[in-house]
Amino acid sequence: MGCGLCLVACVVEHSKTKDILMAYKQETPRPTPRNVVEEGEEGACFSLQCRHCQEPDCVDACVNGALYIDNGVIKVNKDHCVACWMCVMACPYGCIYREEREGSWNSNKCDLCPGRDVPACVEICPNRALVYEER
């Protein structure tokens, strides 16, 4: 329904303090969401995050193995990433984001919120539009 709470939940979950006010007001750089709400004509809209493909194009495109699959979850090793944007070129969902951290760039993406039973975006969605399924 396009409220965008999933974006807020993502930012807070991936902030240092996990406190909404701190994350938005104090932390620099402010963490950026790893999901997006797309809005089209005629009321179509949806929240979109990495689909964690089984044979991901992004991982195949990554030049130095910064993107990898860990137990079915596609993760990015930000310390290894060289910001070549091969993943941005490859992801058919547009779900890998360019992120600037302390003057250097790296790619950023959904990590399914390690340590949580259900990702933060799914939990916050007031309309149960997001569902989390193991496949």
């Binding site: 060289v82 091969m86 941005v88 490859a90 058919p92």
Partner: protein, 421 residues
């Protein structure tokens, strides 16, 4: 079961991964002419100016070979394949039998005969060693010339330029980056790079290398003479298929493979820059010498070698390039092949932003993103999945592409079904 893999790079590494997913027992022997664990070939030009730390160039570390129990033979070249005996002969004279063989030998820079081409100071840029050799020479280099304005040439020119050495690119075609950009896109890039201080000469080529023993200058076809003490030749790469040819495998411009990455000998597979496989945009077999394709093909070869069933559904060119800070991504065709295509563009070249899309029968055949590249992959996905885009196509020109622009049916499918990719 013994798997032998020639080449320890993108294709080879992924073949190992897929073999091990299916066969924990079999023996894997891997040969590499190069003395290094797998590294990221596309990053070697960054090495020239320490654009990325060396640790980030690593593609797989020692644990990879250990965990997957790979018998890795570094610095050893395979010199012959004996298909009768099913064994390979290496540069040390040793013979290694195989049950399944993968040729993932990549390519070699093409160096044309040039007058004076035997002078010192002439290099190619294909391996980490070649990059090391160039890097070593840079401190005493006053001016460099890079022959060839393709992807490798431009990246090399960037590397040398970033290292503080004045650099001139000489390209025979009327534009640089001919494979990955159209004329206008290239013009924008050229303008950008020239403003940054790189010299670019198009429509010309090096006819003679001048110098005593070392390069001192190059003379161009136009007669112009460029003083330089370093020449990089980067006009193209040819697949390393001598082994295959000698062994009598079917070759064309690369080793011919089927959709399982099998060569004309069912026990021999080929993948990566050396293989010629189906391109879904031009709809014929061709060599797509790019990193993602090498990875995908390596996986498919590996899976099938170990008894799996994986097919290559086809690929197409796609590139992401950043030169002196200007970013671009392109995929599929960059120029419209004929009048049956519709082309839409957005040209804000003055601020280095440019977009172009080529459509045919409702399908996207190609796209160019210069400057603003976010979510470009959605277009890659459209080409890959043959998605029709009906609605307002112009929307692709502005802002990041959205999945929501595409047909609902496709979206539903993509968003609600389990995803392979």
């Amino acid at each position: 079961m013994r798997y032998v893999i020639i080449g320890n790079s993108a294709a080879g590494v992924h073949a190992v991964e897929e073999i091990r997913k299916r066969d924990g027992e079999g023996e894997i022997v891997m040969f590499s002419r190069e003395p290094y664990l797998a590294y990221s070939r596309p990053l070697i030009t960054e090495f020239l100016f320490d654009g990325v730390p060396v640790r980030k160039m690593s593609y797989r570390d020692a644990s990879f070979y250990r965990d997957n129990r790979v018998d890795l033979r570094l610095g050893v070249e395979v010199v012959e394949i004996d298909r009768e005996k099913k064994e390979v002969l290496d540069s040390r004279g040793e013979r290694t039998p195989y049950d399944k063989l993968l040729i993932a030998t990549g390519g070699t820079p093409f160096v044309p005969p040039i007058k004076g081409g035997d002078r010192g100071g002439i290099f190619t840029m294909m391996t980490w060693d070649s990059a090391k050799a160039v890097k070593e020479r840079l401190p005493k280099t006053k001016r460099a010339v890079v022959l060839g304005g393709g992807l490798i040439g431009m990246k090399t020119a960037e590397g040398i330029y970033e290292a503080g050495v004045p650099t001139t690119v000489v390209e025979l075609a009327p534009q640089i980056l001919g494979r990955i950009l159209d004329r206008r896109g290239a013009e924008i890039f050229q303008d950008y790079l020239e403003k940054k201080g790189m010299e670019i000469i198009t429509g010309d080529t090096v006819e003679e290398v001048v110098g005593e023993s070392e390069v001192e200058a190059v003379r161009l076809r136009s007669g112009r003479v460029l003083e330089c003490d370093l020449l990089i030749v980067a006009i193209g790469v040819v697949p390393n298929m001598d082994l295959a040819k000698k062994a009598g495998l079917q070759v064309n411009r690369g080793i011919v493979v089927n959709e399982r990455m099998q060569t004309s000998d069912p026990d021999i597979y080929a993948a990566g820059d050396v293989a010629e496989a189906f391109d879904i945009v031009v709809k014929e077999k061709r060599v797509n010498a790019i990193w993602p394709v090498a990875n995908r093909q390596g996986r498919i070869a590996g899976a099938n070698m170990a008894g799996g069933e994986k097919v290559f559904t086809g690929e197409f060119p796609k590139n992401s390039l950043k030169l002196l800070g200007l970013e671009m991504i392109s995929m599929g065709l960059v120029d419209s092949p004929d009048d049956s295509c519709q082309v839409i563009t957005r040209d804000e070249g003055e601020r280095y932003v440019y977009r172009k899309f080529i459509f045919k029968d409702g399908h996207v055949l190609g796209g160019i993103f210069v400057g603003e590249i976010d979510k470009a992959g959605i277009v890659t996905g459209m080409i890959k999945n043959g998605v029709r885009m009906n609605g307002n196509r112009e929307r692709l020109l502005y802002g990041p592409p959205q999945l929501i622009y595409l047909d609902e049916e496709y979206r539903e499918e993509k968003l609600t079904r389990p995803v392979v990719s």
